[in-house]
C-alpha cells in the first residue's frame, strides 16, 4: 500500500456453508490484513472447528455470542491492503432472515463477491444475493465458485454455474459480472492462477479486486452538492460545507440553489490546504458563493442545466429493517442527504418475493421484506433515481416514536404514470391545525360559510352556479377533473378550509367519492342533489341549488336580496 493507492469497498454474500468466512480469512491473510498475534489467538481459540492447519473463518467471526453459535449475525467490517489498493470488506451473512444486514453492507460497496458452492450450483440464495446486489446498485459482481477442489476442478461444473447465474443476473439488471473458479481452503485462483484450472483464462480473484475501474462509478456531470453545515466563523465568511454527491465544482461556475431556485456563481473553494481549483466526488469541501444567498442545511447546489427532481412524492423500493411492521399512513421521519422531513408511506404497491421475484399484494411490510411503495413527504425533496445517483436517490426511514431506523429506500425513476395521484387526505393542513385565521373570521370576510356542492353529469350547471355565486360576492371554485375524480373530496376539503364554496362536477354516477366528500365536508356543508330531482334546465336548477344553500345557512338570505335582483 502506498500513499497513492486507491480504495475499493466490497461486500461478500454467501451462506453459512459456502466457505465465505474462509475466503475472507484467506484474502485478509494474503493481503496482510491479519497480524501474527491475531492468528495466534485463532490457533488458541476455545472453540475448535478447525478444518485445516489454520481455520481462516475464525479470523472473521466477531462477537462472543456469535462465536459460540458458530454463525456471524451482523455486518462486520474488515480491512486489507495490497500495494495497489486498500480494501474495506463488509462481511455480511447470507441467511434468509438477514436481508437487512446484506443491504446494509451492500449500500456502500463498489463490488460484491457472491459465493457459490461448486457442488450445489446456483441456489435460491444465490439469486437472492444477485437481486440485493442489483437493488443496492453495486456496480461490479465477482462470482466466486468455491470448493472447486471438491469437484475435481472440472470446467463443465464451472461453466454450468456461469451460464445459469449470468442469465439470472441479466434479468435483474446486473451488468459487470465476472466468474472465478476457486478453493478458498486451498488457495486456488486467489492470489495466483491455479495450475489445477488450466482451462481458466481469467485473472485470480485478488488481482481482479485490485484492478476493477473505480473512476467509472462516479458521475462527474450532474452537480449535486447537499449543504451539510453552514460555516460562519466571522461576519465576512460564509462557507457552505458538504460532500459532493456528483458533478464537479470549480470557481466561477454557475450554480442553482434549491429550493430557492436562485442562480449564482462559485466564488472559491477554500480549504485547510489552500483554495482548490476543482472538487469532485466524494470530496468533502467548503463552497463560497458570489452572492449573499439564504442557504441552510438541507438545501442543495445543482447545475441549472441539469436539475434533479423536486417533489413531495415519489416511488421507491424499500427494504424493511425492523420487527415493527411498516404500514401506509403511519408517520415516519425520512432522512435524505442532509434533510430530515416528516413522511408517510402513501401506498404499498406490492411486495417482492425475494426468491421468485413475484409481486404480491401487501398491507404491511415485515422485517426483511422488500417492497415497491410510494412516499409522500411534508416538504419537497431534491432527488434523482437511485440508479442514476446513489447519494441523492437513497434515504432511510426513522420511526418517529422509537427513533429506530426502520427502512432503507431507493428512489425509482419517476414518470407520471408510475405514480398514483397524491392522496391529500393523508396530509395535515396548517389552516386546520394552527388556527391563525378562524372559520369565524373567514365567514365575516366572505359573507358565507364554506360548502361542497356535488353535481353529477351537469357540467354546464356547475359553471352557471359558480357564476351566480361569484356575482353575489362569494368565493367559489368549480372542480371538474374527470381524470382524477377520486381526488375531488380532498381538494374540496382544501377549498372549504380556505373558506370557499367548492362545486364538484363529475361525470361518473359512482357515489363512492361523494360519500367521502360528505364525510370530509360534514353533513351540513355538503350538498348532494339527486340528478333525477333536479330541473333539466340549468337556469331553474341553479335557482333550486341557491335556495338549498340558503336553507342550509351557507348563504345569508338578506345579502342575496341586497345584491341579487336589484330590489
Amino acid at each position: 500500500m502506498s500513499i497513492e493507492s486507491q480504495l475499493l469497498r466490497f461486500t461478500t454474500a454467501g451462506s453459512v456453508d459456502d466457505g465465505k468466512s474462509t475466503l475472507i480469512g484467506r484474502l485478509l491473510y494474503e493481503a496482510k490484513g491479519v497480524y501474527e498475534d491475531q492468528l495466534a489467538s485463532v490457533r488458541n481459540s476455545s472453540v475448535n472447528r478447525s478444518t485445516g492447519p489454520i481455520d481462516f473463518s475464525l479470523l472473521t467471526d466477531g462477537l462472543r455470542a456469535e462465536r459460540e453459535q458458530g454463525i456471524t449475525i451482523d455486518v462486520a467490517y474488515r480491512y486489507a491492503a495490497t500495494p495497489r489498493r486498500k480494501f474495506i470488506i463488509a462481511d455480511t451473512p447470507g441467511h434468509e432472515q438477514y436481508t437487512r444486514n446484506m443491504a446494509t453492507g451492500a449500500s456502500t460497496a463498489d463490488l460484491a463477491i457472491v459465493l457459490i458452492d461448486a457442488r450445489k450450483g446456483v441456489l435460491v440464495q444465490s439469486r437472492r444475493h444477485a437481486f440485493i446486489t442489483a437493488l443496492l446498485g453495486i456496480r461490479y459482481v465477482a462470482v466466486a465458485v468455491n470448493k472447486m477442489d471438491l469437484v475435481d476442478f472440472r470446467e463443465d461444473v464451472f461453466r454450468r454455474i456461469e451460464t445459469e447465474f449470468l442469465a439470472y443476473a441479466h434479468s435483474v439488471g446486473l451488468k459487470n459480472v465476472a466468474f472465478f473458479p476457486i478453493s478458498a481452503l486451498e488457495g486456488d485462483n486467489i492470489t495466483e492462477k491455479s495450475a489445477r484450472t488450466p482451462w481458466y483464462q481469467g485473472t485470480p480473484l485478488l488481482e481482479h479486486l485490485e484492478t476493477v475501474d473505480l473512476g467509472e462509478g462516479h458521475n462527474f456531470t450532474d452537480l449535486r452538492f447537499p449543504v451539510q453545515y453552514v460555516n460562519r466563523p466571522t461576519l465576512d465568511f460564509r462557507g457552505y460545507t458538504g460532500q459532493l454527491a456528483s458533478g464537479v465544482l470549480r470557481p466561477g461556475q454557475t450554480i442553482m440553489t434549491l429550493p430557492s431556485g436562485r442562480i449564482t456563481k462559485v466564488k472559491s473553494l477554500p480549504s485547510f490546504d489552500g483554495d482548490l481549483a476543482e472538487a469532485y466526488p466524494p470530496m468533502s469541501v467548503t463552497v463560497c458563493l458570489e452572492d449573499e444567498v439564504d442557504i441552510s442545511r438541507g438545501d442543495m447546489l445543482v447545475d441549472p442545466a441539469r436539475v434533479p427532481h423536486v417533489s413531495r412524492r415519489f416511488a421507491a423500493k424499500l427494504v424493511w429493517m425492523h420487527e415493527t411492521p411498516g404500514e401506509a399512513g403511519r408517520d415516519y421521519l425520512l432522512k435524505h442527504t442532509s434533510q430530515t422531513v416528516r413522511a408517510q408511506i402513501a401506498k404499498i404497491r406490492h411486495r417482492i418475493d425475494i426468491n421468485t421475484l413475484a409481486e404480491q399484494p401487501a398491507n404491511k411490510l415485515e422485517l426483511n421484506e422488500i417492497a415497491s411503495i410510494q412516499i409522500e413527504t411534508r416538504r419537497p425533496l431534491f432527488f434523482d433515481a437511485y440508479a442514476q445517483n446513489r447519494t441523492t436517490g437513497a434515504f432511510i426511514l426513522i420511526d418517529a416514536i422509537t427513533n429506530a431506523t426502520v427502512a432503507a429506500g431507493m428512489i425509482e425513476e419517476s414518470t407520471a404514470d408510475s405514480l398514483e395521484p397524491l392522496q391529500l387526505g393523508s396530509l395535515e393542513f396548517s389552516g386546520e391545525t394552527e388556527a391563525t385565521v378562524t372559520p369565524a373570521e373567514r365567514y365575516k370576510r366572505a359573507g358565507h360559510y364554506p360548502a361542497t356542492v356535488w353535481l353529477t353529469a351537469r357540467q354546464e350547471l356547475a359553471g352557471m352556479l359558480e357564476r351566480k355565486l361569484f356575482d353575489l360576492g362569494c368565493s367559489v371554485h368549480v372542480l371538474a377533473d374527470d381524470r382524477e375524480s377520486h381526488l375531488l373530496p380532498e381538494l374540496a376539503r382544501v377549498l372549504n378550509s380556505a373558506g370557499l364554496i367548492a362545486i364538484c362536477s363529475i361525470a361518473s354516477p359512482d357515489q363512492t367519492e361523494a360519500r367521502r366528500a360528505q364525510q370530509l365536508a360534514g353533513d351540513t356543508r355538503f350538498l348532494l342533489v339527486d340528478p333525477q330531482q333536479l330541473p333539466v334546465k340549468d337556469e331553474e336548477a341553479s335557482e333550486v341549488l341557491m335556495k338549498m344553500l340558503e336553507d342550509r345557512g351557507v348563504l345569508r338570505r338578506k345579502e342575496r336580496f341586497e345584491v341579487g335582483e336589484g330590489i
Binding site: S5, Y35, A65, I88, P282
Partner: protein, 301 residues
C-alpha cells in the same frame, strides 16, 4: 482527462470530515474525546480541516486517569494553546482520592474506575449528546461490528444485539434526552492508514512513539515504564533501554517495545516487519478472551 479517483487516504479523509460535520450540524452539544495518542491527533487534524477557517467548534475532553506519561500532558497543553481548543480535563477525583491505582487494584478494576466511570461522569457533567472517539474497527474483533454512530442508552451502555442499521452515509441522529451517541469518524481507518496520514500531513506527535534510550524496568517479555512510582520488586533494577511505545495509555498498562525507529519512515518499516497488532502490548485486552467486548457493553469506548 486526468483521473478523478481519490487516493484511499483522501477518500477516508472525505468520509471522516463528512461525519464530523454531520454531527456538529445535528447535535446540540458534541464533544471530542482526546487521548493525546496518534489516532486522536489524526482526528484533531480532520476536525481542523472540516471547519476551516473556523476554530474547532466543540470542546475537547481529556479523561485523565492521572497515570499518563508526563510528555503526554505537556504535548496536550501545548496543542490546546496552539489550536485555541476549549480543553476540558476530567478525572474521577473521588476514586483517586480513595487511592485507586493500577498497581494495587489490577487493570480491570482500575480501568472501570479511572477510565469508564470517569468517562461516563464527564459526559454526564458536560451534558454532551454526542462524543467523538478515535476508535477504529481494525483494532479488535468486537470493534469490527461497531457502527459509526454508536447508540448508548441512558447508562452509556452499548447493546451489540440492538444496533441501528447504518446505510450509505445517511446516519440516524435521533435520540431521546439522556441518551447519547458515540461517534467514530476513524472507523474505516487502519493502523497503517493512520501512520501514512500522519506522514502525508506532517501531523505533530508525542515523541514517546519514537525510539529513544529510556529508563525502564525489564520483567520477562514486558518492558515497563517507571513513572508514577511503579513498585519495583526485590531484586529488580531499572535499566536504560532503547524503546518506543506502540500505543499510549497509562504508563503501567502501556508496554514498551525495543526499537531503533527514530523517524516516521523507520517506524512504518518496523511495523511492516513486526506484523503484530498494536494492542498486543496493551495488557487490558488480553485479560480474558473478549474482554474488550465486555468493557464496551459497560460503557468503555
Amino acid at each position: 482527462m486526468e483521473s478523478r479517483v481519490l487516493s484511499h487516504l483522501r477518500a477516508l479523509e472525505a468520509e471522516s470530515i463528512h461525519i464530523l460535520r454531520e454531527v456538529v450540524a445535528e447535535f446540540s452539544n458534541p464533544v471530542m474525546l482526546y487521548s493525546v495518542g496518534k489516532d486522536s491527533s489524526v482526528m484533531m487534524r480532520l476536525a481542523q480541516k472540516a471547519f476551516h477557517p473556523a476554530r474547532i467548534p466543540f470542546p475537547v475532553l481529556h479523561v485523565d486517569t492521572g497515570y499518563k506519561f508526563k510528555e503526554m500532558y505537556e504535548f496536550r497543553d501545548n496543542l490546546a494553546k496552539e489550536l485555541g481548543l476549549n480543553l476540558i480535563v476530567y478525572a474521577n477525583q473521588a476514586a483517586l482520592d480513595a487511592g485507586a491505582n493500577p498497581f494495587t487494584l489490577g487493570t480491570q478494576k482500575c480501568c472501570a474506575q479511572l477510565k469508564t466511570r470517569a468517562l461516563l461522569d464527564a459526559l454526564a457533567a458536560g451534558g454532551y449528546d454526542a462524543a467523538f472517539g478515535g476508535a477504529r474497527r481494525d483494532e479488535e474483533k468486537s470493534r469490527a461490528k461497531e457502527r459509526i454512530y454508536s447508540f448508548r442508552d441512558k447508562f452509556g451502555q452499548w447493546d451489540p444485539k440492538n444496533q441501528r442499521p447504518e446505510l450509505w452515509n445517511v446516519y440516524n441522529a435521533k435520540i431521546e434526552k439522556g441518551e447519547t451517541i458515540r461517534v467514530f469518524p476513524l472507523s474505516n481507518w487502519t493502523e497503517m492508514d493512520i501512520w501514512r496520514y500522519i506522514e502525508l500531513e506532517k501531523i505533530p506527535l508525542v515523541q514517546l512513539y519514537f525510539a529513544k534510550e529510556r529508563e525502564m524496568l525489564v520483567r520477562g517479555n514486558s518492558i515497563i515504564p517507571l513513572e508514577h512510582n511503579y513498585p519495583i520488586q526485590i531484586g529488580e533494577k531499572p535499566e536504560m533501554v532503547k524503546v518506543r511505545m506502540r500505543s499510549l495509555g497509562c504508563t503501567y498498562c502501556t508496554g514498551a517495545i525495543r526499537s531503533e525507529a527514530e523517524t516516521l519512515p523507520q517506524l512504518m518499516e518496523e511495523l511492516v516487519q513486526f506484523k503484530r497488532s498494536e494492542r498486543e502490548n496493551r495488557i487490558i485486552d488480553h485479560d480474558t478472551e473478549g474482554s474488550m467486548e465486555i468493557k464496551k457493553r459497560e460503557g468503555y469506548f
